[in-house]
């Protein structure tokens, strides 16, 4: 009893030490977050109540910037377009990324590394260079249209300067954000589970639909949510690939700061976007948890 008591006390003291050590390790990152993330957020929130007219900020505060967000049809349409694009892009990434993640799981050594490199390589290129380069392929005089014309298509479809162009441009880059979590989920599945199902006579399709796919759902949700949330902030790709006809909420916010000198309204709109993102992340996390709990 005495020994156990001493042991328990020692364990508790060790835990406290570990806990202290952990806090110490976390402190630099926490401080960095405080300065570069939380403090700007507080400033953003405060500035969001300022009103600006003709480039001059009034000294009074008001909720008008928030009212503008909800009452202006142009802004609301931009929010709707952003959500639609985000959903379509996240879905596109999932449909294209899942098979890639599956191939990576089955591949070994160098092939797996090559696939990984191919998936992350778009992230290593400058966004301007990448988008402007797409003109060479998808533009009116681009590779695809030239080939189509050679094949007798007199009026080839527009592949750029519309929603499709934006989706292609963003899916190309954000694919990695789906592939990596899905791959992590797939890699954590014990192969013995699938082998057992197969040995009991399940076809490969059945094994995939009843074992592999359900067990990889947390990765799917994580990847989908990540891409969806990232897409809410897309700016440059819609500007270039959408020919500026695809108006997203980020474009409206950027213009408020740059051209209209209205930081107050831009801040209020940013706060609203932040709230939207928080709700989405929370919902994604809840859904993910529901799928994790049976395991």
């Amino acid at each position: 009893m005495v020994e156990r008591g001493w042991g328990a006390s020692s364990l508790s003291s060790d835990r406290e030490e570990v806990s202290k050590g952990l806090w110490l390790l976390l402190t630099p990152a926490a401080l960095l977050y405080l300065i570069t993330f939380l403090a700007p957020l507080v400033v953003l929130l405060l500035v969001s109540f300022e009103r600006t007219t003709g480039g001059v900020t009034a000294s009074s505060i008001s909720l008008q910037n928030y009212a503008d967000f909800f009452s202006d049809g142009v802004t609301l349409r931009a929010v709707g377009r952003t959500l639609y694009l985000s959903f379509a892009i996240a879905l596109g990434c999932l449909l294209l990324g899942y098979p890639v993640a599956l191939s990576m799981r089955r591949a070994q050594g160098a092939v797996r590394l090559l696939l990984l490199f191919l998936v992350i390589s778009p992230l290593l290129t400058s966004v301007i260079v990448r988008n402007v380069s797409w003109i060479l392929i998808l533009g009116r005089e681009g590779l695809i249209n030239v080939v189509l014309r050679e094949l007798g298509v007199s009026d080839p479809p527009r592949l750029m300067y519309n929603d499709l162009g934006v989706m292609i441009g963003v899916v190309h880059v954000y694919l990695a954000f789906v592939v990596l979590p899905v791959f992590a989920s797939l890699a954590s599945i014990d192969p013995a589970v699938e082998e057992s199902a197969a040995s009991l006579g399940a076809s490969p399709t059945r094994v995939f639909l009843h074992i592999t796919l359900p067990l990889s759902v947390p990765g799917v949700i994580a990847g989908f949510t990540l891409v969806f949330v990232l897409c809410i902030g897309i700016y440059l790709t819609p500007v270039v690939m959408g020919g500026n006809f695809v108006v997203t909420i980020s474009m409206i916010i950027a213009d408020l700061v740059r051209t209209q000198f209205d930081v107050g309204r831009a801040s209020a709109f940013s706060v609203m976007v932040l709230l939207m993102v928080s709700v989405l992340v929370w919902a994604g996390r809840q859904y993910e948890r529901r799928h994790e709990s049976p395991r």
Binding site: I35, P40, V42, Y161, V239, T259, V263
Partner: protein, 357 residues
């Protein structure tokens, strides 16, 4: 003992302080420690692209040599100063640069918010050689650039003379106009159909909608505009002369013209922010940039016109720049930048609605 200033934690002070701290932390233009360490280092905002290179390689070195200083440049992305950041820094009493070249709408913002100091002929002796319309209360307007028509000479054999040519049905899907300085487009539409720049109204947007079938894209960056011309995606459009000239010199069959209804000329007032570390050196620098030799270099290397009457252009650069002689400068339309800043929010809202339609 002097009166000690009490700390007054008002919201405005807090915001100013936070703004400057954030600006310092999050700035994309991180200044080197060396720049701060050298007392004779002088910091200016500069341009990106060809113009930035011209400044760095051709304009700055002679000044450094002559005055024994080292100039540290902070490149403005898109050659546009971050005015909100400038405001935060000026209000905090510590602007990071001593000279800020501004776009004209930025200048209105700076003037209205009292961010820059006045400059007169006693500060800038070179004023005597500048065309008076390019001298503002707070600095000289340098780097004259034009917004007119660029067209592809391979696809369009007859030189267009009017903005109306953009509406020509033969150019369906082959026209581009710009988005960031969209007020040029709106004023251009008015100029074409009513002969006046303002007001921007339903009629303006109705005419703009008639242009829509011809529009391939609304370009944002100069690099994008160049690529559209280079790839011959666009045959005709409202473009900036310097970008057209750069592509033309690569051998692409394009030309830039000033339409008969009028064209747009803008310039960058070079201003000194309040609280600048070395305003005297800043004035000397601005005076130097105004002078004949640097202005000639900027024209030759950066395709920008000069307000200096003494600058002599080569025949080659004369053919690339529209604004090389006073008669042509007179043909440029006179924009009301205060009206633009006052109305830009409403215009932008309508512009975005038009884009979404």
């Amino acid at each position: 003992m002097g009166a000690r200033k009490q700390f007054d934690p008002t919201r405005r002070r807090f915001l100013s302080l936070s703004g400057s701290v954030l600006a310092a932390v999050a700035s994309p233009f991180v200044m080197s420690a060396k720049a701060w360490a050298q007392s004779k280092t002088f910091v200016i905002y500069s341009f990106d692209g060809v113009l930035g290179r011209a400044f760095k390689e051709q304009v700055i070195p002679p000044f450094e040599q002559q005055h024994g200083v080292r100039i540290e440049t902070i490149t403005m992305p898109g050659s546009v100063p971050p005015m909100q950041k400038v405001k935060a820094m000026v209000e905090a009493g510590r602007p990071e640069a001593d000279v800020i070249p501004m776009q004209l709408t930025d200048y209105v913002f700076a003037r209205r918010n009292n961010l820059v100091i006045p400059l007169g002929p006693s500060d800038i002796p070179e004023y005597k050689n500048l065309y008076p319309q390019f001298i503002t209360e707070h600095g000289p307007g340098l780097l004259l650039w034009s917004y007119g028509i660029a067209y592809n000479t391979r696809h369009i054999k007859e030189e267009p003379s009017s903005w109306r040519e953009l509406w020509n049905p033969a150019y369906k899907g082959r026209v581009a106009i710009n988005d960031p300085i969209f007020e040029h487009v709106l004023q251009m539409v008015n100029l074409t159909y009513s002969g006046k720049l303002l007001p921007i109204n339903d009629q303006t947007f109705a005419r703009l909608s008639e242009l829509r079938p011809n529009l391939l894209t609304l370009y944002t960056t100069g690099a994008q505009a160049e690529q559209l011309l280079r790839r011959e995606e666009v045959w005709i459009g409202g473009m900036w002369n310097s970008r057209t000239a750069a592509v033309q010199d690569e051998g692409v069959p394009v030309r830039f013209i000033a339409p008969k209804e009028g064209f747009f000329v803008r310039y960058n007032p070079f201003c000194i922010p309040r609280g600048a570390r070395d305003p005297d050196l800043a004035k000397t620098w601005i005076n130097y940039v105004c002078s004949k030799e640097p202005q000639g270099l900027i024209a030759e290397k950066g395709y920008q016109g000069s307000p200096n009457k003494e600058v002599v252009y080569s025949e080659h650069i004369k053919s690339r720049l529209i604004v090389t002689d006073p008669n042509v400068i007179q043909r440029a339309v006179k924009e009301d930048f205060d009206a633009i800043v006052d109305n830009v929010a409403d215009w932008r809202r309508r512009w975005d609605a038009w884009k979404q339609a």
